[in-house]
């Protein structure tokens, strides 16, 4: 057996002798087989170019256990509103006592538990769905995942407050590997927001491999906020799959702040006309952090709109990669797609890779894309200094202004304030390793 094979099997071995997986054995068997055949993505894997998986495979892990969750953690997360619905998972397991359902006409909870009660709807969305983008990590999830969050907002239900999905990694001793599979279903004309956050309560290394499938039925409106707040001794691979039907609107905003290696995959596809998908993101890697945003939007229907805006501040020796793929099928006329990736490099060693990729087969479309990578505007800095503003303050103001067009779109006030608090402190010189600590609390 070669060295690579040992690495590839590594995560499968952790599950030896385990039971109670999310997917039934007959489906799992295929996934396990596929997993064992799939290579770890390397620099030659087109969709994963520039992704360095070494930090993930350099560690040995054990599976995280279900632990007693300390509810006082909520007090330190200032965006958290107690009157909202919440699903709490620790090390990938549903925590019933920490989760709470506040609204009558929605269904939230553990995906594993929901299988009995919502058999039809889950079958419709989960079991019949083949993995269209079978990369190493998503297949690993298919094969061995045990639980995750389930949200079903039925037709015409509109929620005022957000629904939280909060993941906590907590080690009792040693490095933790955790997986979760989340399913979010928006019924016809439903409207709600999800705030999906990841935190780490311990300082051992952890790797969280997560898949979230989101389905929007006709005219549904969903806002999805993803926050990567696991500490700097964490690796995180997230796969978000979005399916949008006629007239629906999906807006997401991903903030990547912490983590030694973070990969955010967004696969989005339209299944009806006049739908809109808007993906935004901010990343601020420092030191040796690596942030990788991969987006793949498939315009298979006409008259749909997609937008991507990703902005990064890259400090020290950090590396960022942005890949934005847009596919427009021959029949997807009147597609309106825009993409922008902007990076500011704060040091001579920081690196940003930006890879816009458009594949267009229709002839009546508007597809704009732009990518800029540079330093802070020296003319603007000089101008500010001639008004007496110190260099440090001027830089902070310019960086804040740079990120503002992304963060200003966060419609949930308390969460926006939390993000801005972290950004402001980061720009004032605090490093992610201190800010990613859950105990950092703006309001207490």
């Amino acid at each position: 057996m070669t060295q690579t094979n040992v690495k590839e099997k590594k995560f499968a071995d952790l599950y030896f002798g385990q039971e109670k997986f999310l997917f039934p054995e007959n489906i799992r068997a295929n996934s396990v087989k596929l997993f064992l055949e799939t290579d770890i993505p390397n620099n030659k894997t087109e969709n994963w170019r520039k992704f360095n998986s070494k930090p993930i495979f350099d560690h040995n892990y054990k599976l995280g256990k279900k632990l007693n969750f300390d509810m006082s953690v909520f007090d330190t997360l200032s965006f958290f509103e107690p009157e909202s619905n919440r699903i709490v998972l620790t090390n990938g397991y549903y925590d019933e006592s920490a989760s709470e359902k506040k609204t009558e006409d929605i269904f939230i909870g553990s995906l594993k538990n929901a299988e009995k009660k919502h058999k039809e709807i889950i079958k419709q969305h989960l079991k019949t769905k083949k993995n269209k983008n079978p990369d190493y990590f998503s297949v690993l999830n298919d094969a061995f995942v045990k639980d995750g969050a389930f949200i079903y907002v039925p037709d015409n239900v509109k929620l005022e407050h957000p629904i939280y999905i909060m993941h906590f990694i907590q080690s009792d001793n040693g490095n933790i590997f955790a997986q979760n599979r989340n399913l979010i279903i928006a019924g016809k004309n439903a409207s709600f927001k999800v705030i999906h956050t990841f935190h780490s309560l311990s300082s051992d290394f952890s790797f969280n491999n997560t898949v979230t499938d989101i389905f929007l039925d006709d005219d549904a409106q969903t806002e999805y906020y993803l926050f990567e707040g696991e500490g700097n001794t964490a690796a995180h691979v997230s796969n978000v799959n979005i399916s949008s039907k006629k007239g629906s609107s999906f807006k997401s905003n991903v903030i990547t702040f912490c983590g030694s290696v973070v990969r955010n995959n967004f696969h989005a596809e339209f299944f009806g006309e006049h739908a809109e998908i808007d993906l935004k993101g901010v990343y601020m890697p420092d030191k040796e952090q690596q942030v990788n945003n991969f987006i793949d939007i498939s315009h298979s229907e006409p008259n749909c709109k997609s937008n991507q805006l990703f902005k990064g501040l890259i400090d020290n020796k950090a590396v960022s990669v942005f890949t934005g793929k847009v596919f427009v099928a021959r029949d997807a006329q009147k597609t309106d797609s825009a993409q922008s990736n902007q990076n500011l490099l704060l040091t001579d060693y920081a690196r940003a890779h930006s890879r816009p990729q458009l594949e267009i087969y229709a002839d009546d479309v508007a597809c704009a894309h732009g990518s800029t990578t540079g330093q802070l505007d020296k003319e603007a800095l000089f101008y500010m200094k001639t008004r007496g503003i110190s260099e440090k303050k001027a830089k902070t103001m310019l960086m804040n202004a740079f990120l503002k067009d992304v963060t200003a779109h966060i419609s949930e006030g308390s969460y926006r304030d939390y993000v801005n608090f972290l950004i402001n402190n980061r720009l004032k010189g605090q490093h992610p390793e201190s800010l990613c600590n859950v105990k950092v609390c703006p309001s207490c």
Binding site: A380, I389, L398, D405
Partner: protein
């Protein structure tokens, strides 16, 4: 010259010193020069997307006050102060929420420079070709602002190629600069002479002399 005084690092000063209120300006960086009371109105004001004029001025005024040992202004006090200065230089109220100079017309940019000058109350203001690219109405507003800001304790250097601006900002002293030297100095009547006879005579005389 204006850029050297304000401290732009594009230029290297090879000799001499700049004495300002007993300090050598060349030893100070741009922000320190500003806090000492130097103000440069840019020929081409820079656009700063995402930074509102209010926030920009707030930061600048706070730093100036800190230098003088004063506490930052309260928000309400600051807004009142800003309103007062805006009226003085006839700056359009709708501009204040906008990002600094972003999408401003040439005239708006120059008005914004004079507005900042009013806010910061410098001892020495340098207006670098402030008349370039201005129509006559904007020119009047800018000139008016400069005139109103004149006190017995401050000074303004206006750098221009044209007499036109001097119809509105009446100078006390005129220096003619040629090849990096002051070749002639006079009162306000010098400008009228120059307008009439051109620079040729002065140039010839200067070439002979140096």
């Amino acid at each position: 010259m204006a850029s050297v005084l304000a401290g732009r690092d594009l230029f290297k000063v090879t000799g001499g010193k700049v004495d300002f209120k007993g300090k050598n300006l060349l030893n100070l960086n741009p922000e320190e020069r500003s806090r000492e009371g130097i103000f440069l109105a840019f020929q081409y004001p820079v656009e700063i997307p995402g930074v509102s004029i209010t926030n920009f001025m707030r930061a600048a005024v706070d730093e100036q006050r800190k230098h003088k040992g004063l506490d930052p202004m309260k928000a309400s006090e600051f807004l009142r102060y800003m309103k007062e200065k805006k009226a003085l230089v006839e700056l359009d109220a709708k501009l204040e929420g906008r990002a600094v100079n972003e999408g401003f017309s040439g005239g708006e940019k120059k008005k914004n420079e004079v507005f900042q000058m009013a806010m910061l109350e410098p001892d020495l203001a340098i207006l670098d070709e402030t008349d370039s690219g201005l129509d006559i109405d904007a020119l009047k507003v800018v000139a008016n602002g400069v005139n109103k800001l004149k006190t017995k304790d401050n000074a303004t250097i206006v750098i221009t190629h044209y007499q036109r601006l001097l119809d509105y900002i009446v100078p006390d002293i005129i220096h003619v600069l040629y090849n990096g030297r002051i070749v002639k100095t006079g009162g306000r009547e010098l400008a009228l002479d120059l307008e009439k006879y051109g620079y040729d005579e002065i140039k010839k005389e200067a070439d002979k002399q140096f």
